[in-house]
């Protein structure tokens, strides 16, 4: 059992580390962030986790298109669902953080707007799916749309926010790298940030596998329970 679920243990260990070291390490002084810079260990990993979950989702969508199989459709759908949960949490935590640093919860910052658009594109994925009664058609059209939604993630989250002025780090005229933190991320913060990203992401995978297991059980059920 432990051999199969080592990554769940890893997730718990990394998250415990995040919650202790994240509050204890000495953080650099940046602008008017003060202690709220520690949100970096909670708000940003939500987005990284969302990216990973959506990536896994699109991989299963492609798998489904290559070789139609109800299981890969279930995987694709459930990973996208957890991805949306992470994205919504990223938006909400972001606006809480913004209220006390940028002055208002929603300041129409390009990255805020585009992240919301990216999420809406994924919400549309489920609306599209649920509007198609035929299971096979639903899975196939859903998989095609999933690839489109994934392709939209990159311009909305990574490319356009760098090209315009933004309150987020990394926009025009603002210091820093919006993606990785890169050389601008303080070394002390980096040793908490990356474990935090891995821990939160593995937690998302864990939650998703629980839902997948339930869906697979339902699938095995004669005449759908």
């Amino acid at each position: 059992m432990i051999r199969k679920s080592w990554w769940k243990v890893l997730s718990v260990v990394l998250l415990i580390y995040t919650f202790t070291a994240g509050f204890l390490i000495k953080v650099p002084h940046v602008g008017n962030l003060y202690g709220s810079i520690r949100n970096f260990f909670f708000h940003v990993p939500m987005w990284f986790g969302m990216m990973v979950l959506f990536m896994v989702s699109v991989i299963y969508a492609i798998k489904h298109l290559r070789k139609p199989n109800i299981n890969s459709d279930i995987y694709s759908r459930e990973y996208a669902k957890t991805g949306i949960v992470y994205g919504v949490l990223g938006l909400v935590t972001g606006s809480v953080w913004a209220s006390f640093t940028w002055g208002e919860a929603w300041s129409n910052d390009p990255k805020q707007l585009l992240a919301a658009i990216a999420l809406l594109i994924y919400v549309a994925y489920f609306i599209l799916r649920n509007s198609i009664p035929d299971i096979d058609k639903r899975a196939r059209i859903g998989a095609v749309y999933n690839i489109f939604a994934c392709a939209m993630l990159f311009p909305t989250l990574w490319i356009i926010p760098r090209m315009v002025e933004s309150l987020h780090p990394g926009g025009q005229g603002v210091e820093g790298n919006p993606g990785m933190g890169g050389k601008d991320l303080d070394p002390a913060m980096r040793i908490v940030f990356w474990p935090a990203v891995i821990g939160w992401t593995l937690l998302g995978v864990w939650m998703t596998t629980l839902r997948i297991r339930l869906e697979l059980l339902k699938e095995k059920q004669p005449i759908n329970g």
Binding site: F19, S36, H43
Partner: protein, 73 residues
């Protein structure tokens, strides 16, 4: 039988009393959320994430319950 949802009402009740106590602090210049180096902003963010995951978990719980019921009949 107490409705479990009613127990959730305790949360805002506790938080309100905390908020009332916090008003007594001498932090009127910055406000509670901006006091102590804005660390309470991190607290709210962490609670938000916890609440989100708990909501997700309880939905999964309900899904499994209805599946179990369907299995028996």
């Amino acid at each position: 039988m107490v409705n479990p949802k009613k127990i959730l009402l305790l949360v805002p009740a506790f938080l309100l009393s905390l908020y009332a106590m916090a008003q007594n602090d001498s932090t009127e210049d910055v406000g509670f959320m901006r006091s102590e180096g804005k660390i309470y902003v991190v607290m709210v963010v962490v609670i938000t994430i916890l609440a989100g995951f708990l909501l997700y978990l309880s939905r999964l719980d309900r899904k499994i319950s209805s599946f179990e019921k369907g299995e028996q009949s």
